[in-house]
């Protein structure tokens, strides 16, 4: 589904991602782990097109998408649920969801858009009933947990084939994290391909099929989730961070 080869990217003159390659088969879940500053967020933003590719290639189902604009990649099925949620706070919950459907509607014929949007909204409200109750509230008025739900729901509105999630559990209460991972498990069961970025590794590795560990912009090692979990180098990566909570 997603093939990244020798990707180099960054901000300004800083190379935050250096020669990163990865391969995500359709329907699988990849967890990208690493300490703060490893380049995980840059990697996600470059895959979705928010940051330019300096070198290397990003291919989606064999098609090179590395020169496409962000919105064109979204139309092809790549959607990022960004770090910090980035809810549009002055728009209502429903308007946030409608914006999320933009890529989906661009794939549809003009005459069918109205119906497709109505159906997608209905689906989102079934999946996240709390959003239905608050559909007219400004996005900024939701609690942190509700905002994370909205961020995931909004990303799903585009009916992505590849969903990138950047730290979906960041800043959430443990109970809320359980709920978020519950939703992700349901998406996995539906066959959606997921790339998940988390700093703390245990939860993500339990959930993922494969893992990839980054540090200072490089891939240190990767493999099946079990291989990564049992790799003695994993503890070293997080040493000095908060090794115990990470494992």
């Amino acid at each position: 589904m997603l093939e990244v080869k020798g990707l180099v990217a960054g901000y300004g003159k800083v190379r935050a991602v250096n020669e990163v390659s990865l391969d995500v088969p359709a329907g699988s879940v990849l967890a990208v782990l690493g300490p703060n500053g490893a380049g995980k967020t840059t990697l996600m933003r470059t895959i979705c097109g928010d940051l330019p590719v300096w070198a290397g290639e990003i291919a989606l189902n064999g098609e090179d998408i590395s020169r496409l604009r962000t919105d064109e990649r979204a139309v092809r099925g790549v959607t990022l649920c960004p770090e910090g949620r980035r809810i549009l706070s002055t728009l209502t919950v429903e308007e946030n969801l409608r914006i999320g459907a933009t890529a989906l509607l661009r794939r549809a014929a003009r005459t069918e858009r109205h119906q497709i949007l109505a159906h997608a909204l209905e689906r989102a409200f079934e999946r996240f009933p709390v959003l239905k109750d608050r559909r007219s509230a400004p996005g900024g008025a939701l609690s942190g947990g509700q905002q994370q739900m909205l961020a995931i729901a909004r990303a799903l509105m585009s009916a992505p084939s590849l969903l990138l999630l950047d730290e979906p559990s960041l800043g959430l209460a443990p109970q809320m994290i359980d709920e978020v991972y519950g939703f992700l498990a349901a998406l996995q069961a539906e066959g959606l391909t997921l790339v998940l970025v988390e700093e703390s590794s245990r939860r993500a590795l339990d959930f993922a099929d494969h893992g990839l560990v980054m540090k200072n912009g490089h891939v240190l090692f990767g493999g099946t989730a079990d291989e990564v979990r049992n790799d003695p180098r994993l503890a070293g990566v997080f040493l000095g961070e908060n090794a115990e909570s990470a494992l």
């Binding site: 959607t79 980035r86 002055t90 409608r98 890529a103 909004r154």
Partner: protein, 295 residues
């Protein structure tokens, strides 16, 4: 009492024009964080366009459409050529660019049309008036309040009820996220400059009908009025632009009416005192929130 009502009518008429001016300026600010100081040149160019069209004896309806067309075209060109390349630059770069654009547009007016005032012909019917209980309301005043109301209503419907409006509001708050969701972000800037140009063309006709002449440096006054209005109302807020324009109109009209004649020359300065007062008491403006392009 009659006097008071007369001043109120005048204030509404002036205020609605300021509100219109402010709308065109605040829309582009809301979308890309640019206070476009070249905005007033759209009015000046519209003024010369009116002069040419009148000289060619173009039908009034056609001329109105043509003037709006000229302002929209110029606004789009400045958006594409001067501002799009800097859309990710710091606000100061955008601000300086807008001064540059303004100078270029002004110099080209001087080269093409020369220095000095030109009369802007207006349909004579605009000068007619209605009298009711000692209060005089001119057709022009009715037209300016009516047009102001229609434009505000139209813009509100566009932003709140259409997909383009939704996408513009999303882009205004977080352009990157809008792109990630599939919004064709390059079209949003085009739309903002187009709408700003349409509004500039409309307000130009009212503004110029009121002052009757145009000159190369005639952009300064409308730009400053629009700027004061959006600062009072809250930068980037549609409601703020409307309120700010009306407040400025009321303030100016009543100042002229009730200020002792010795102080009248300082009327402009007093308008800035109002701005300072707003900035001190309510820095986000009367209707402003921190970031928005909304009601």
């Amino acid at each position: 009492m009659t006097n008071f009502i007369q001043h109120l009518v005048d204030a509404l008429s002036v205020g609605s024009t300021y509100s219109l001016l402010a709308l065109g300026l605040t829309l582009v600010f809301g979308v890309m964080g640019l206070v476009n100081f070249a905005y007033g040149m759209l009015i000046v160019w519209s003024g010369y366009a009116i002069g040419l069209l009148a000289g060619w004896h173009v039908n009034v309806v056609l001329a109105v459409v043509a003037v709006i067309g000229v302002a929209t075209f110029l606004s789009l060109v400045m958006g594409e050529v001067a501002f799009r390349p800097f859309r990710k630059a710091p606000p100061l770069t955008l601000l300086l660019t807008s001064f540059g654009v303004s100078l270029i547009l002004q110099a080209s007016v001087r080269i093409i049309f020369g220095e000095g005032f030109r009369r802007v012909p207006t349909p004579s019917v605009l000068g007619n008036g209605l009298h009711a209980g000692g209060v005089r309301i001119s057709v022009l005043q009715l037209v300016s309040v009516g047009t102001g109301t229609l434009v505000v209503l139209g813009l509100y419907l566009l932003l709140q009820r259409t997909t383009l409006g939704l996408q513009m509001r999303a882009y205004a708050e977080d352009a990157d996220v809008a792109g990630m969701m599939g919004v064709r972000t390059e079209r949003i800037l085009t739309a903002a400059f187009a709408i700003s140009g349409v509004i500039a063309g409309i307000v130009a006709m009212i503004w110029l009908a009121k002052i009757g002449t145009v000159q190369p440096s005639g952009d300064l006054n409308p730009t400053i009025k629009a700027f004061i209005a959006i600062v009072i109302g809250g930068l980037g807020s549609i409601r703020g632009a409307v309120l700010g324009g009306l407040i400025l109109g009321v303030f100016e009209s009543f100042l002229v009416a009730y200020l002792p004649s010795v102080l009248l020359p300082y009327g402009e300065a007093l308008a800035f005192l109002l701005v300072i007062a707003v900035l001190v008491l309510r820095p986000q403006g009367v209707a402003g929130r921190v970031v928005e392009l909304s009601r």
